[in-house]
């Protein structure tokens, strides 16, 4: 059976036959055959063109066919393979010799051009490789870069092994496209290569029959992994390729070492940071929990043990202290739980169409006990549309900020809440005229457990604003603290959240109840916007 590729391979030979036939015809018709040397030289044309276009095989074929045609048609006796003058045999030999030499030279030139192109591609790939590797910030990046240069370096697949712990090397799994099938005992091979810093696989003494090459990744200081290359079965430029693998592996090694160092530095930093947070958390919790707990226990025991000496007023005062202590503990626990919910990703935004005045109203209602000592002004434009936000979480934000505003200002100092539409979102500014926050501290107040210097005398955990920031950022918004510019002192917290808007719907269709009560029931059924 002849396959499609066989067809393609046979085509040049067919062309050669057509070409030589046509040439023979032309020579015959034009009478060039009178001087036989001319005709012989003309038969070199198909040979040269064929070797240039299709390589050696067709060129040799063209040379042979040329000699046969020349002999048959133009060497006496005509139309016969017999040669009357034996000197022609020498001519044939010379012709064939010239043709073969030319073909060989042309083919070699072609191969060299091919190699040069390969080299150029390789140089480009190498350039790309070093540039991309310099930007790689993770092992996945390194693998992605290696994937991208696969065609230029001509290997089928590759795998990157890095040490998982002291004894095991682990393959960096990147994606499904690069399905790598480990050969039997690959783990041991990789480990051996890693430990001995020697290559294995094809082209090296060990596992030379394998179709893979294992190259250790080493820089001057460290050995950081192993790269395994899977080769194509019909690999031609093998020697050059082996050298290239060395070069690529060198670049790769630098990147892997850099990534590993960065990760180490990061984990050290993380460990330090988490230790710092743990300490703050312990300090903060122990202080914030124990203070109210002490109040509660003290007051309770005072009431129980001192029943006969305390007046009713004393008891009432102690009971109020107990309530205050319990509420403080409740706030702390709620904040901590909220923080954990956010950090573990348990909070999902539930956006709904809401009125912002309703949310602010609910927040102020929640704070009514605290706010008896502070006048609150709310400025909301009359034409405020519906906004698409998580009302419950936004209420929590407003409660946290407004209660801070109250906590850090003197009795009687006003709090202002100003709402406006800005761009594709909603802006809320909450201002107090309290102690204020210094410019240096303003960017930090949203950090976890951060307490302003001015706030040290007030109870608090430094979690409230962090939770606000989490909520606002989940809404694709931002929050910042700045000086209250409309007052002599104090702070303004400005927040912006991205939201869709919707104007009032359906209210206009509803008519006011008129004087006649008889028609009410019919109005009730007729004028529901919902039913319209």
């Amino acid at each position: 059976m002849i396959t499609k590729t066989d067809h393609l391979r046979l085509f040049p030979y067919l062309y050669v036959v057509v070409f030589v036939t046509a040439l023979t015809f032309v020579i015959h018709v034009t009478g060039l055959s009178i001087e036989r040397v001319n005709a012989a030289v003309l038969y070199l044309i198909p040979v040269l063109l064929t070797s240039r276009m299709w390589g050696r095989g067709p060129a040799y074929f063209a040379a042979t066919l040329g000699v046969v045609a020349f002999d048959f048609f133009f060497v006496p006796p005509m139309l016969s393979f017999t040669v009357s003058d034996l000197r022609y045999l020498v001519s044939f030999a010379v012709f064939l010799f010239v043709a073969f030499i030319t073909t060989t030279l042309t083919s070699e030139l072609k191969l060299q051009i091919y190699k040069m192109r390969q080299n150029e591609e390789y140089t480009n790939a190498l350039f790309l490789l070093s540039r991309k590797m310099a930007a790689a910030s993770s092992l996945a990046d390194v693998v992605a870069v290696m994937q991208s240069i696969k065609p230029a370096i001509m290997y089928n697949n590759f795998a990157l092994y890095v040490p998982k712990d002291e004894h095991v090397l682990q393959r960096v799994v990147f994606d499904d496209h690069s399905a790598w099938m480990p050969i039997d005992g690959e783990e041991q091979i990789v480990k051996w290569v890693f430990e001995h810093q020697e290559k294995a696989g094809r082209g090296s003494p060990r596992l030379s029959q394998s179709n893979r090459v294992y190259v250790p990744l080493s820089t001057e200081q460290v050995v950081c992994g192993v790269v395994a290359y899977d080769l194509f079965h019909d690999n031609k430029l093998f020697e050059e390729q082996l050298q290239r693998f060395d070069t690529i592996s060198g670049v790769c090694a630098l990147a892997v070492a850099r990534v590993q160092l960065a990760e180490q530095a990061k984990s050290v930093h993380l460990a330090k940071e988490s230790e710092r947070l743990r300490n703050i958390l312990l300090d903060s919790i122990s202080h914030e929990l124990k203070t109210p707990l002490a109040t509660v226990m003290g007051s309770v025991t005072a009431v129980i043990d001192g029943d006969h000496v305390l007046t009713d007023e004393d008891k009432q005062e102690l009971l109020l202290m107990i309530r205050e202590g319990a509420m403080r503990m409740n706030r702390l626990v709620t904040n901590l739980l909220n923080m954990v919910r956010w950090e573990t990703g348990m909070v999902k935004l539930q956006r709904r169409w809401c009125y912002i005045d309703e949310i602010i109203g609910a927040a102020l209602e929640q704070l009514k006990d605290t706010l008896t000592l502070h006048p609150v002004m709310v400025k909301i434009p009359d034409t405020m549309p519906f906004v698409y936000i998580d009302d419950v979480l936004l209420e929590q934000v407003i409660v946290n900020i407004v209660s801070n505003a109250a906590k850090y200002s003197q009795v009687g100092e006003p709090i202002e809440i100003a709402v406006m539409l800005r761009g594709e979102g909603l802006q809320i500014a909450i201002s107090d005229q309290g102690f204020g926050i210094s410019k240096e501290e303003q960017p930090h107040v949203f950090e976890k457990f951060y307490r302003s210097q001015n706030a040290n005398h007030h109870p608090g955990t430094g979690l409230g604003l962090t939770i606000c920031k989490n909520i606002i950022e989940a809404h694709n918004g931002w929050i910042k603290a700045c000086d209250n510019e409309l007052a002599l002192h104090g702070t303004t917290i400005v927040l912006w959240i991205a939201t869709k808007f919707q104007q009032d719907i359906g209210y206009e269709g509803d008519v006011l109840l008129c004087q006649q009560t008889e028609s009410v029931s019919s109005l009730l059924t007729m004028n529901h916007p919902y039913r319209n």
Binding site: Y355, D357, D510, L512, T517, V520, R531
Partner: protein, 232 residues
């Protein structure tokens, strides 16, 4: 309101909370029965036939919502939910399953007592037709379909009137968005229509509240619904 002879069943697995509520309720003159598991609770409710049930959602044996549905399948007794979970979804789930109101732990006794009183005050539907509902400064004349503030008449639309009436008839209780939409608009797609509700509540507040941004009569239960309060 006299509480003598009014009986309440408390279903809660935490002894301190149970004791706290028991002591307080007994001091207020209620008759109290306790249950510490869901199954026991259902049995107690069926044998005692109480006037009110206080049910903790986090029980050791059964899910609180299952207990709720079980009681609801044969009794219309008012059920007040205690929940430590301050997640709105849980509250809404319980309210939709037939709970009448909820109190989130930690709660103050004043709050709990106010909720209990509101539930016990609730009148059977239809019994107050033709009478006048007093909601703090607002009077709703059910026979005349009018809303008055003192001697001044407040003009409301039919939908606003229905909404106000429903809230007033259930004053002190939380009504979920779903409940209000179904009973005022008869809507099925309540999730997409909840803007209507917010618009009408907004307009009602502008008409009856002194400061619509800080409502005292119709308060928002964030994420859950609305509650009409009597300003004390």
């Amino acid at each position: 309101m006299s509480t003598d002879g009014v009986s309440i069943v408390i279903i809660d697995d935490e002894p301190p909370i149970q004791k706290l509520i028991c002591v307080t309720l007994r001091a207020h003159g209620f008759k109290v029965a306790e249950a510490s598991t869901g199954q026991d609770g259902v049995v107690k409710v069926s044998t005692f036939r109480p006037d009110l049930v206080i049910l903790d959602l986090g029980l050791p044996d059964l899910d609180g919502v299952d207990v709720l549905s079980s009681i609801r399948s044969w009794s219309q007794v008012p059920i007040l939910i205690l929940t430590a979970r301050d997640q709105e979804q849980e509250k809404i789930k319980a309210l939709d399953a037939g709970a009448d109101d909820y109190v989130t732990k930690p709660f103050s006794m004043g709050e709990l007592m106010a909720r209990i009183r509101a539930l016990l005050r609730r009148l059977p539907i239809g019994s107050n037709e033709g009478s006048i509902l007093h909601c703090g400064p607002i009077d709703i004349d059910l026979s005349q379909h009018t809303v008055m503030r003192g001697s001044e008449r407040i003009k409301v639309t039919p939908t606003e009137y229905e909404l106000l009436k429903l809230l007033a008839q259930n004053s002190g209780r939380v009504l979920t968005h779903k409940y209000l939409l179904q009973h005022v608009w008869g809507g099925q797609q309540w999730q997409t229509e909840s803007q209507y509700l917010r618009i009408y509540i907004g307009h009602l507040r502008k008409k009856i509240e002194e400061d619509p941004t800080r409502p005292k009569i119709i308060v928002t239960e964030p994420g859950v619904g609305y509650r009409m309060l009597f300003p004390d």
